[in-house]
Amino acid sequence: MEILVYGTINSVSLALMGLGFAMVYGISRVPNFAHGALYIICGFVTWTLFQIVGLSYFVAIILSLCVNGILGMSMYRFVLIRVRGMSISEIIASYAIGLVILEGLRFGGFRGMTYTLPVFMEGSLMIGGVPVDYHRVVMTIIGVALVAGLWVFTHYTRIGLALQGMAQDERAAMMLGIDSDFMAMVAMGFGAVLAGVAAILILPLGNIVVESGYHVLIMSIAVCIVGGLGSWMGAFFAAFIIGYAQILTVVYIGSHFQMVVAILAIILTLILKPSGLFGQQKELEERV
């Protein structure tokens, strides 16, 4: 039972980390290597608004998500748009932005282990005889609801359908009057907000430290590669595979090897099915 409970929690947490990265890549084909930095900066902005400025926690969260969205869109509008289509340059540029943000935060004094966000609910409950704290339960419910909400958004709203059109065939979408650059910018903003949502849900479990930005980036890349680059639903399922594999590793092999799981999953995917579990477009390219 504990494997089921904590496997699900761990998987949803990984899915939250990777969703934003998967969505941006799926729509704009821009590998946003600043994803981890956007995750961390949202945590610090929320902390500043809540602890220093004195806003209510809810208002601080909403404002910091807005800041993240604007930051994501600005990154595309002012930097990434210039290198769009050149994958190596996109990686270098986005990673450089991420480095500037993370190291800038560190240089600005955001170091140490005392930056924390409050949990949504105190206490714990028993699920099938397994103790779980309320915040993890809330995080899991919101995480699943978010995925469901994203599915509805991309299937039933105008912008969502436009984003999907972009993801399927950018040129065809442009012929139908969809502004490719505008939609890519929206996708970047959306991805940044998703990184922020992940931060708001996950960071209260521990503390906000710059180094987590790199960890989040690695985990995001892992779930996206296993799930199939460009498929955010694939990323969601991959998060469950890696999440459960991590928990099973801890239980049956040892905690020592849990970080290896994600890296091993990347290597195995690249050897056995480079397109990933749901990377259909890439798979077609591979066949051709």
Binding site: Y6, I9, G112, T114
Partner: protein
Amino acid sequence: MKSYRLRVCLSLFVFMALLSGAHAFAEKPIIIGAPLSTAYLYGWDAERGIKLAVDEINAAGGVNVNDKKRPFKVEVIDTRDLEPGVPVSEALMALERLILSKKADFILGGPNRSEAALAAMSLLSKHKKISIVTSGVLTPKYHKMVAEKYEKFKYCFRIHGEAVNLIGEMIANFADLKEKHGLTKVFIMAQDVSHARGAAKVMGKVASSKGFEVTGTEIFPTGTTNFSMALLKVKKTGSQIINIWMDMPESAILLKQWYDLKIPALPFGSTLAAAEQPGFWKATEGKGQYTLCNVVNAGNAPSDATEWTMKFYNAYAKKWGVEPEGLGSSSSYMAVYVLKDAIERAGTLESDKVVTALEQTDMMGVYGRLRFDPKSHQVIAAQDPKDGAVGSILQWQDGKRVVVYPKSIAKGSIQLPPWMK
């Protein structure tokens, strides 16, 4: 007219004072190179300790080298060795830069990670640079290497307690907990780094030999963010003490979850950086209550170990706006005073002569009497500050860091959480 004269006199006085001040430090400064992982607690606390001592010494006239007053100057370089994934070679390059480019006369502080400090020993030997490690380096291998190859590694000193001292102190507390509360089952959790892995192994053996049941040992890679399953193992095995060896920030996740799940085992850590900082209480909204951690030496938490202790504690708090934060604060501060004392006795900066002088060090400091073992260059530890360097174990009680060990300096006793009673 009178006021004009007064102003002229005052100006002349100020001018002369400035001139004499300038003359006091006309001599070349003695450069202290501090290779530290400055973004991490054990790096910046050492930097602050060193700078505080340097400021005090310079304000008091500097270091007397053969009747010439020379000031200390600190050159800090970021080694990043405490950060996950940063190779040891980075720290070595940083150290070499300090020696070759910054012309450091002495090395104080780090590197902080044991692996990096061990690798740096050969480099220090090559350049014949005296180094006193003051923060983070806990592996017993460090002073064993000095003892084994004295001629090669005689330039390396360590002024703080090491893992074996820490284990001894913790075992003494376990024995106390066994006697008073009947706690006998220990679960060990360690970070996958040299000192922690080694300490966990030794702790397992020592605890077993002392009649404790070691119910499990889990090693976590640096950066681990999920401790749920391990905590459930603790609960399932009926463990009563969780012995934690982790300096990674993520250990805060472990401690918060321990509190939320009301795991009936007392968290007792060493190098538990997250719980060492005074801001831990606020950051965990009180969930840090009952957490115990070994902060290696006295002075890193408030106590009256010696006359120096609170003087240092308050001076640190005044200068940096925060109480001494990590396990490297008091030792880094004292290293500068010990070095000053050795240089003055040697009357030169020549490495071999200062090594001899350091071996003869015998002075009182923040955490007791400071002497180095002449063969291994490890500071001599003791239970009483009159005899040697004393350790310090604190417990978070109602928002305060209360020293509970050793008894000679304790300010309170260990409390158990209500769900353990």
